[in-house]
Assembly symmetry: C2
């Protein structure tokens, strides 16, 4: 293998595939990045066996020569070193040459020699996932990542909740994440063609979010073992979580008796300030609602108290006091990403939802905390 | 105590005094900020007993009303909360009012009540240090902080080396820091009037560096117990380290037999890249010098090797191979802050210096590492 390549383009692509690599992987070959050069371009792969990312740098793009190919080949190069080396080289172009088990990385005055791992030891990765196949607008995938993915659990004790459930009846797709104290659900009208119900690790979605920037469409293919996201130059394959996802269909109430509409930024800032007093109480704040006044408050005997008055609001319903985690409230409002949010309640101890009336596809549900009077 | 104050100005001053506060100070009163309002302005104090910072916000500045004073007084307010509260308030002005043992912090829709600590428990701080007194240009203080302070030891096992030694014969000031593997020395021609030899904690100098921005001069007063830095609105008092500082007068050689001049940025980038291969060997790199070629290299049997050729250099002397810590080399070059640096050597095992020929006031000395051929 011998080639010269645009440094910036290589660095971008290395940064994409390295996201799949666990530096402490017990299988040392997977701490390496696979470089495979052929007449179609340079293919880089990073994998931790649960998640694999393959990205391609074509030889030419828009009449610009990205790679000057001298000799095709394959090499597994330590991700720990190659990324820093390429980042710190000074020129616009980097030369790679594999001689026996060593790769030479050269750029003007710098010459690195790195010992390679044997490419024969690199596990074969299959990017062809047979099963359901459909195409989603990249902007919609971005919404699933940002509006739903954050609500998955970070706690590995119940692995199924660390994923985002993708469920379809063939003509729409419902994406749900919950950590059992809050839930986010997005419904997308899309012909998936077939029924399915798979749960994708939230971490996989985060990585997809990072490579979406210049994409227009994402082809998703999935079965009960794996899911594959295919973009123009990048393919991400991930295992799915095999346990069945809990049935969340009945969790979001159909009916609410109170409704509050507020300016999102204003309301979020008040929650954030009120939470300062309850840092030591998991940031629980109390929302007090009636037709005259909307207040967010928090108190702690040792520290003090805070009252935040919300000046602009619309409220319909009886008087209500309800407590909730400021973190959950703030994340839900941020995920909706709109100017005005609407909160709908039943009673002090029942779940409430935060929605954007202009976009009914997304619902954020939060379980209240116990309210002490 | 009751007043309304410019939020941004208060936040700036809180950020200055909070630097002296240790959130886990065993003396709880010292986790608070002392607010003292009188007809001269608002005086804020933060202290960890080793280091105290007092800063003043005048009532008026350049015809602008900074504080609307309604009632003078004193209060000790938790630093943990007041800083975040002021930072997150929305308006330009904040109102403070102390009622019994509670301070009310108000701004439009927000009203915080924080329990105060008793101002009678706050230890008296004496900012009047009798002893030697002299005035230094703020830019020179900045140089002492940036060019010398970094070379102090971070290891508390030998406390005296965590400080910067200030020594004067009355007509100049020599500032030295060393961690026993490298040393930085700056000589300033200034009439201090008296002989002295005190060692100031490097941490104190870091804090002084942070408040220097808008200052022109710093008045330094010191004795064998304390040092006081007086600026326009801010006073910093610190204990000095009482142990005697080791005699470093003879450590910098008078004579060198080899001399290398290189472009600082170019040379530093090459050291930085070469150190990538020796991360697991404390970043030790080898410099190889002769009249024809200057190279920086590093090798590791398992990882690989690197050779960096320096293209622009002037060298006089015999052939030399010398190894050193890339961290020390990079920090010394950065501290000099100049375009061209000169390195002077004797032999492989002897200390070498890095200097800026245009500014002989500052010398960086580094002990080489063992060179394995």
């Amino acid at each position: 293998m011998k080639f010269t390549i645009s440094k910036d383009r290589l660095l971008n692509s290395l940064n994409v595939v390295v996201r799949a690599i666990s530096p402490k992987n017990p299988n040392p070959i997977l701490t390496g990045i696979k470089f495979e050069l052929n007449n179609n371009g340079l293919f880089l792969t990073g994998s931790n066996s649960d998640l694999s990312i393959l990205t391609k740098i074509p030889l030419k793009e828009n009449d610009e020569n990205l790679i000057n190919l001298q000799d095709i080949g394959v090499a597994i190069i330590s991700s720990k070193y190659v990324l820093d080396i390429v980042r710190k080289l000074e020129g616009d172009k980097v030369e790679f040459e594999v001689v026996d088990t060593v790769v030479l990385i050269r750029d003007g005055a710098s010459e690195f020699k790195l010992n390679c791992m044997s490419s024969e030891d690199y596990p074969p990765l299959d990017y062809d996932v047979s099963g359901v196949k459909f195409t989603v607008d990249a902007g919609v995938v971005r919404q699933i990542v940002d509006q739903v993915g954050f609500a998955a659990s970070a706690n590995e004790n119940r692995p199924i909740l660390t994923g985002v459930n993708f469920k379809s009846n063939g003509s729409n797709l419902v994406c749900v994440a919950t950590d059992s104290f809050r839930l986010a659900r997005k419904t997308i009208n899309i012909q998936t063609g077939q029924e399915f119900n798979v749960t994708i690790p939230a971490k996989t979605l985060v990585e997809i979010g990072r490579v979406l920037d210049n994409e227009r469409n994402v082809e998703i293919s999935l079965n009960d073992k794996r899911v594959c996201f295919t973009m123009v130059h990048t393919i991400i394959v991930s295992r799915v979580i095999s346990n069945p996802y809990p049935n969340t269909d009945k969790i979001i109430p159909d009916y609410f008796s109170m409704e509050l509409s507020v300016l999102a930024q204003n309301f979020a800032a008040a929650i954030d300030r009120a939470s300062l007093i309850s840092i030591e109480n998991n940031g629980i704040v109390q929302l007090s609602l009636d037709a005259e006044e909307v207040k967010i408050s928090s108190r702690n005997k040792e520290i003090g108290s805070v009252i935040e008055k919300i000046s602009a609001f619309k409220y319909s319903g009886d008087r209500l006091d309800i407590s909730f985690s400021s973190k959950y409230g703030l994340e839900a409002i941020k995920a909706l990403g709109c100017t005005e949010v609407t909160l709908k309640f039943n009673e002090t101890s029942k779940p409430f939802v935060i929605i954007n009336k202009a976009d009914p596809s997304i619902v954020q549900l939060i379980l209240p905390a116990i309210t002490y009077q």
